[in-house]
Symmetry: C2
Subunit: 328 residues, 2 copies
């Protein structure tokens, strides 16, 4: 395997490059994200965090479904709209409490399929869809879902607190299958029990409450290394990663594997003495986790494989979102 | 004025008729809206309510902007996305704490204008936009915003608790102007101070905490009587309304006035002995409020004007959303 061509392919992966426009939006709002004085975390994290008293934070996230996914399989898009939002809250160490949706479609059949997919997701993840808005007359089909979660203020897991010397843990449920029409979706949930899938979400709440990690993020559209890149960018640090240590289902080649959106996957950073407990908790819920590298001061993401080494991101010049996390 | 032709025009108003598809969605989710056992209010209210402990409820709402509004004025659509969401929380007696958005556009200029409008709304209403998702590559322009609020469990104002014998209060800020490109938007906020506009939101929290109303709803796309109709439908009751008692800016004819989306407008029901205090609080913040009628057992909305009487909705056969509110 030629590491450089693998790295080039990931660098140009649409899942990463399309994150680039976020910075622009975050900039317009940078003076007002904390207008009420309660915003703890804003753009740049999986969910934003707002103080609600009693030492609790509300976590807010929103996700739109890729048009490509909506066209390929509206039911799956509905299901995934739940999965991605629930994972955003899990990645913060939170408990998801409810979702709302906005559906735009004039096609009743597509609307039905989306809603049935959402309902399957609600049952699988145990998080209710409690309201929303329907545009029954649009010339396009779109689905946007938002979620609210709760976390103890002391237990929140951010993307921006990775420290130099921390170990990088990559944690992925490798027991799954590719979606037949959409080969970037690594489905690990539809074939598993509700109990196990919900335990995979709850484990992040446990990891947060035991203070086992310094930072964390759920693996999403940018894939495993793209997601790690976003964490490094938000934390203002770099990392070294040994490719072979990333948990992988060996039926999938590296290039595809690293671009997948897994059903349950997290990138975490942890102090050395907490790594074992963290991995133990993840493996109890069927998530394969291993130490794959270390956080370094040099703001680059180095990937090594056998005797090869390549730089995936150099944050002195590259940006993924370009968002230095807003926090107060 | 011919009351029957006015009532016919309102009956066929798109702002009301397009609400019809919601029932279908609510039905698909009716077995799972309370899957985690914490959902207090679901589809059928301005916001859904979920218990979060400590005698508090989280309020969740979402709104998509009409395509028509996006095409006419993206900046105004951005501003209104804040206004409508904040009003959904106010209508529940809650305090809005933060919003997220999903923007779909490949046009950078439109994206900028939307975001600048959102930012103006954030400053005006004092509620932060803390995160979201951008689709930078869609062939259409869309904006969906969701909001989370907080309310004391005992103070929540629902759409479904109007009781027979209650007075109907209609409360509208009549001091405003029509939007130049969109003649169903009654703008009452852009020309007023942030302080006054925020006080118009907070007054509903005060009305909730003083337990002055039995039900309430913010006047939105279905207009004044369409919104009242939705409240009656959710509560399973009817009402009689004297047209002339509805607060109105006299520069606008009745037919247009009743279809407007006001910057600050609420339909409320209140026990007789609490009406005066409720109106007093509303008028303190420049919202004109009057008793316009009464809640009745007969599930119809009767409108009278001079010696004429007409039935706007007969809930034995008509439906607006058709959603009988889900609550637990």
């Amino acid at each position: 395997m030629d590491l450089n061509s693998l790295i080039d392919s990931i660098k140009n992966f649409e899942g990463i490059t399309r994150k680039n426009s976020i910075n622009h939006i975050a900039n317009i709002l940078k003076d007002t994200y904390n207008i009420a004085g309660n915003t703890i975390l804003s753009f740049g994290d999986d969910a934003s965090a707002i103080e609600i008293g009693n030492e609790k934070l509300a976590l807010l996230a929103a996700d739109g479904m890729w048009g490509k996914l909506m066209e390929a399989d509206p039911r799956w898009a509905g299901y995934c709209s739940v999965l991605v939002n629930v994972n955003d809250i899990a990645a913060m160490g939170g408990r998801p409490i409810g979702m709302t949706n906005v559906i735009s479609t004039k096609d009743k059949k597509i609307c039905n399929e989306i809603m049935e997919g959402i309902n399957e997701g609600v049952k699988k993840f145990g998080v209710p869809m409690v309201g929303g808005h329907l545009h029954p007359d649009t010339p396009y089909n779109a689905l946007d879902v938002s979620i609210t979660g709760i976390v103890n203020k002391d237990d929140v897991i951010t993307s921006c607190d990775a420290n130099i010397g921390d170990k990088v843990i990559i944690a992925i449920d490798i027991d799954g299958k590719l979606h037949p029409q959409f080969d970037l979706n690594w489905d690990t949930t539809t074939m598993k029990s509700d109990e196990l899938v919900q335990a995979q979400i709850e484990v992040m709440n446990k990891i947060g409450s035991e203070k086992l990690v310094t930072a964390g993020k759920d693996i999403s559209n940018p894939g495993t290394l793209g997601t790690l890149g976003m964490l490094l960018e938000a934390s203002g640090v770099g990392a070294t990663i040994e490719l072979e240590k990333i948990p992988r289902n060996e039926s999938i080649e590296w290039e595809q594997w690293l671009k997948l959106y897994p059903g349950a996957g997290f990138v975490l950073t942890s102090e050395s003495n907490k790594v074992d407990r963290c991995i133990e908790l993840l493996e109890e819920v069927n998530i394969t986790a291993s130490v794959t590298g270390e956080i370094i001061e040099d703001k680059k993401l180095y990937v090594t494989h056998e005797d090869q080494e390549a730089v995936l991101f150099d944050f002195q010049k590259d940006k993924i979102t370009g968002v230095k996390e807003e926090r107060s």
